[in-house]
Subunit: 137 residues, 2 copies
């Protein structure tokens, strides 16, 4: 016999709600990271959720590049690239090095690098299984 029985009611934020497996609900909720941490993680994923930003970050995987080269590689306007880089910079995912009027950006967040590696590995892997008809660019 437990503190809570199945098919019961569990306190949430002082409010209550019906649940089927009360024990699991309590257990899972205990393992759940803090709201702030989850929000941060969601933010990071959000920064990776735009194809243009993703292209920028992939381009930066093997070294720094200036804004105009990044724009050329990712096929967007320099203004658009700059906006995107600003966002990434604000989140410390990328840092800029100024050299005269040029700005060289580099990937500065190891966790993001890891996520990118995982994503690229997955792309390559599924590409081997079911090759897409090529629209490489």
């Amino acid at each position: 016999m437990n503190k809570y029985s199945d098919d019961g009611v569990v306190a949430v934020d002082g409010c209550t709600a019906k649940v089927v497996d009360a024990d699991r609900v309590v257990a899972v909720r205990e393992r759940m990271p803090a709201a702030g941490d989850l929000a941060d993680a969601a933010d990071v994923f959000g920064l990776l959720s735009d194809p243009n930003r993703l292209r920028l970050l992939v381009a930066l995987l093997d070294g720094e590049l200036c804004v105009c080269d990044l724009a050329a590689v990712t096929g967007q306007s320099e203004s658009a690239a700059s906006h995107a880089l600003r966002l990434l910079r604000a989140h410390r995912i990328v840092v800029a090095r100024r050299a005269g009027r040029m700005a060289y950006y580099r990937l500065a967040d190891p966790h993001v690098r890891l996520l990118l590696d995982v994503a690229l590995a997955h792309i390559e892997h599924t590409e081997l299984l079911h090759p897409e008809r090529d629209g490489t660019t």
Copy 2:
């Protein structure tokens, strides 16, 4: 001496643009995954970019749960949870098993599971370094 010289101009989609390091631009662009693959990857990240969806997926990491329990664990209305689950289901990230009037959802995408593991590991890791003042829920 190369086909392209630095500080030059490179053809992009028939159009041209100024670049600083033409060789790197060409090299990086060749490594860039196909647009469709990148869009898919961005979509996946996008699905992980909402705190409520993230909570749902984290809750499902160690086994299936019914909608009402998921709603309870993640602290959202059952309607909201159902909407979110529908999105995840549409992308095959999650699958539903029906048992009478209940619907049990489980995580069905190993790649997403991996991304979640990476994110959670990162959370725990940084939590050790600089513990946040606790707002666990």
